[in-house]
Amino acid sequence: MTGLDFSAVLALWPALLAGAGMTLLLTGCVMLVATPTGLLLALGRDRGPTLLRVMLATLSWLVRGLPPLLLLLLVFFIPSDFGVNLPPFAAAVSGLGLYMAFTYAEVFRAGFAAVPPGPVQAAHALGLSPPRILWRIVLPQMRAAVLPPYMSHTSSLLKNTALATVVAVRELTSVGKSLFAVTYRPLETLFVIGLIYAAFSVLLFLAQSRLERRA
């Protein structure tokens, strides 16, 4: 083996930058879709009519029992069997979004359980509307319980965006694979890519510490 040489990889920095941007964009879009959906799913499972609860519980078991990779493939390829071709980015957001929505829902359900019933009953007695109770009483109180698991699942989401490479999204991992195919420098490329992912993970961790201090 010849010594490590990063010059070939670093010379292609615009591609790395675009890939890193795509990874962040994908993570952000999935969070934006999955967080409100997860909250609705949690409400449906805890407060909804029995039929809805059973349906959502079954769906949750289905979605969380499958590998995220297979979920992406299902969302991407099955519509194409019926003549609907989803663009790669939309397929990645739907596949990962589906998985994360049900994952976040579990976090929110645990959060609901952590809120003491007294203030909620008091708000009911004062005649506050249920959405207002949720927004003003329940959500602020579950913040401390929800934040750590929410952020740790978000960190797995960031790493799972690497799977979007199978539906041809040009995120960091997929860009990396093309880069080492071109430069014949797999070690150096993977090292740089790994460093970028690690930097993103550290940023998430710092964000979590800040948010937790404020909570």
């Binding site: 083996m1 289905l62 490479t165 990396g176 797999p186 992912y197």
Partner: protein, 220 residues
């Protein structure tokens, strides 16, 4: 759905299913003792070794499992170690799994009061004996739920091995798909098989948690 097509390619997909089970079993079998060792090194704050284990865990938890897999398959040959797809996947997934599972072990070790370690020391128990007879039985209650969850995560993660050419369940389904141009049949078949095994594991998790509660009590 085309039953004839599925019947024709069932052997291929079922062989993939067997590979998935084998890969997951191998990874878990290798990862459990290693994770325990890493957790003990960190828990006892062994000089140097404890730090090294800490750095290893942080690194492998910060990087996607797919990058580790690419490293084992595409990167290691540059260091003079060329691995076939299956061993490369087993190696990469074991390294990743150890990093995650060792955190479960560490939390479980931390849940055993410090005084118990001191007592085994005072009684002059050899360290292996102390861990096996005194510490682990007490840690088991905290240990079983997250370790079983991580076992299910590991099984699901084996699907990623298809990206370096391992013909496990996902890889075999993709192969059948590429030959027949029928995505729905084989992806749904793979989904059903994955759900069967994750369902069985989830059932095992409930049984294991019940067994630990009965054997070691619900704790303080």
């Amino acid at each position: 759905m085309n039953p004839e097509l599925i019947r024709e390619y069932a052997p291929l997909v079922l062989a993939g299913f067997a590979t998935t089970l084998g890969l997951a079993a191998l990874v878990l079998l290798l990862a459990m003792p290693l994770a325990l060792a890493v957790a003990i090194c960190r828990h006892l704050r062994l000089p140097l070794l404890g730090r090294l284990c800490g750095a290893y865990v942080q690194t492998f938890r910060a990087v996607p499992a797919l990058i580790v897999l690419y490293f084992a398959f595409y990167g290691l040959p540059r260091l003079g170690l060329s691995l076939q797809p299956f061993p490369a996947a087993a190696l990469a997934m074991t390294l990743t799994s150890v990093a995650y599972v060792s955190e479960d072990f560490r939390a479980a070790l931390a849940s055993v009061p410090r005084g118990q370690w001191d007592a085994t020391h005072a009684l002059g128990l050899p360290i292996g004996h102390a861990i096996r007879r005194i510490i682990l039985p007490q840690a088991l209650r905290v240990l079983v739920p997250p370790v079983m969850t991580n076992a299910i995560v590991t099984l699901k993660a084996t699907s990623v091995a298809s990206l370096v050419g391992v013909r496990e369940l996902t890889g075999a389904s993709l192969a059948a798909m590429a030959i027949t141009f029928s995505a729905t049949d084989f992806l749904v078949l793979a989904a059903v098989l994955y759900l069967t095994i994750t369902g069985v594991l989830a059932g095992l998790q409930v049984a294991a948690e019940r067994w630990v509660r009965r054997r070691y009590g619900t704790g303080p």
